[in-house]
Amino acid sequence: MSFYIPIGPQHPVHPEPLLMKFKVEGEQVIDVEINVSYTHRGIEKGLEYRDYMKGIFLAERICGICNAAHTLCYVQNIEQLLNKEVPPRAKYLRLIVEELSRIHSHLLWLGLAAHQIGFETLFMYVWRDRERVLDLLEMITGNRVVTSYNTIGGVRRDITPEMEQKIRKGLDYLEKRTKYFKKVVMEEPTVLVRTQNVGILKPREAIELFAVGPVLRASSIKHDVRADDPYAAHDEVPFNVITYDTCDVYARILVRIDEVLECINMIRYSLDHLPSGKYRIRLPVVIKPPPGESVSRVEAPRGDLLHYVKSDGSDKPYRYKVRTPTLANIPSTARMLTSRGDYIVYIADIPIIFGSVDPCLCCTGRVMFVDVEKGKSWVWTYNELVKYSRERFERHD
């Protein structure tokens, strides 16, 4: 006897709305259907009405936590169109803020994962220690979460030697606490029994379903944009690509904790080798790049982030497209949440499996029409959307 239970759109475990309809029999999950269209905001259209310097601030608000990655991707795109190089000091400073924001994102995720398996104490401790990273970001950039640090041509502020001292002290504290959390995750039996052999994604499936980010690296595939396609001083700062081969939720937690330790080492290296010089080249306020297209990739905390821009010579982009890592991870999530053969998924595993993918749904919503009988799919233009909304308003008046 099976029935459907809906998780979402409003649910205590989701910070953002999405709908997952599960077909369950007793305590086992048989099938899932995911619907992510609740937070579509029309940002790609909004970027077509703003010129390039103002568009940085809209691109930053695509995702609250990965905002350093989104601005970095955007300004790299425009600099590629204009064919300008930023000074070396700017590249190192961009790396420092990007890695600090990655530490912030992973610690926030660790607290949420602990909350989803019911471990409230670890959640409170991790979020208390995350305040140190937020204090460091506030000191460097002026704001805790939405940093607005990158700009076309470099970065907006510099790091003074007093700031360097405080950053180093903060990093020592974070390293000590992260090692303690790693010990708790690896040795506490209630955590081990909830996370091992849960949410398995085999390496072959991960490649077929195009998983990205820590989900891919926890299935023992060595892929990281910072190593394969380096940007912003990543070719000069050495680091290890972390992989684990147990392919379950436990591996994903360990991949993210080890990445935090790697980030701390990268920031220390770049503070030691910071080149001197200018941190910004001045560009005119209204930028008119030559007509052309450009693609840029960045390793956001959740995976590969891709931005595409097409310019037609005016001061506003003709088309801007964003492909976020969570959208690429949704088919893998659906595969991890269905039981097949010997591998059984229980209702109790749903929050931690879904949380181990680190979903950031604000960037994910897409709208597309599919006509299943005729086998074709199309998208609407702006005028058709406006016409439809006016008709509906008049009908329901």
Binding site: Y4, E27, Q116, G118, E120, T121, M124, R194, I347
Partner: protein
């Protein structure tokens, strides 16, 4: 006639319903404040000095909220379950020896009566989940029954060890036979450990709050209750906490016994009883703070693989020693 009147006043005021009500709200405050301090934060703070009136404020707020009965629910069962849950727990507190070696009600074999009525509360949880016809409630009720299969036997067996040590099934005799040495300091230590874990599962607290898992099934079997019914369930849960901590203090820590000054006996006995049950409450809160929540099938495996053999060993130890 005077004795009947005296007994009724004892039942209603002290150490009966009013005293139990105040004490259970105090226990909830201690639980929340201690849990918060373990996590390096403040607990309730603003309602009364140090937040001591917060559980009372929560209760009064819930009484004033709208009470919605879902359309497809079984109205009879839906309305009666909270009242029975609250009433059974309140009745059982009259058996606890708070201000003397026997409670307000005491008769031969009242320990069996106690444990039998406790199983009714667990069955009422299942009824509450099934009566509110909601998918999440059904899953929560299912999990509650599975958990009940897990913890009931170790709970009974740990009480059996105490019964064998004292040789009687009456609470009054168990308390009096601890006047030389408390049971926990003897061969009953293993039984005490098993009792504490079984009580944590009965009260549905982390690591065993599986029927009410907030992250998975949105409050489980309680999901459709609101207003006065939810207030009764929560107060019933608080009284059950007091009940089980008090029973633990009676069976293992000597109940209200301790050095007395003649003339002040009632106050000192009550004080000893309260302090001992607060010690057990603090142990339960620490267990709540250091573990994650386990799955229901893992809970059954844990219970049948570890708890039941341990409780059987403790019965054997006690039988051999005595």
């Amino acid at each position: 006639m005077i004795e009947v009147l005296y007994k009724i006043i004892q039942m209603i005021l002290f150490p009966g319903f009013a005293f139990i009500g105040v004490l259970s709200l105090l226990y909830e405050w201690i639980d929340r404040k201690f849990y918060a301090k373990l996590q390096n934060r403040v607990g309730p703070l603003y309602a009364g000095p140090h937040g001591i009136l917060q559980p009372l404020a929560d209760f009064i707020k819930l009484l004033s909220k709208e009470d919605i009965i879902p359309e497809g629910a079984d109205k009879f069962l839906f309305t009666l379950t909270p009242i029975f849950f609250f009433a059974v727990n309140l009745l059982l507190t009259l058996l606890l020896p708070i201000c003397g070696t026997s409670g307000v009600i005491s008769f031969t074999g009242d320990l069996i009566f106690f444990v039998a009525l406790l199983t009714i509360t667990s069955i009422l949880v299942y009824t509450a989940g099934v009566a509110s016809v909601n998918r999440f409630a059904t899953i929560g009720a299912e999990r509650a029954v599975l958990q009940f299969i897990g913890y009931e036997i170790p709970f009974m067996l740990s009480i059996v060890s105490v019964v064998i040590s004292s040789g009687s099934l009456t609470i009054k005799n168990i308390v009096e036979s601890q006047s030389n040495m408390w049971y926990i300091l003897g061969p009953n230590l293993l039984a005490f450990a098993v009792y504490v874990i079984a009580v944590q599962a009965e009260l549905e607290r982390i690591p065993f709050d599986i029927p009410e898992a907030e992250q998975e099934i949105v409050a489980g079997w309680l999901v459709e209750y609101s207003g006065k019914k939810l207030a009764l369930f929560r107060l019933g849960r608080d009284i059950e906490t007091l009940l089980l901590c008090g029973l633990g203090a009676t069976l293992f820590l000597g109940g209200p016994l301790g050095p007395v000054i003649p003339g002040l006996e009632i106050i000192l006995h009550t004080l000893y009883f309260t302090i001992k049950s607060i010690i057990i409450l603090l142990i339960l809160t620490t267990l709540k703070a250091i573990f994650a929540r386990i799955r229901v099938d893992q809970m059954l495996v844990f219970s049948w693989k570890y708890l039941i053999p341990l409780s059987l060993i403790s019965v054997l130890i006690v039988r051999v020693v005595f």
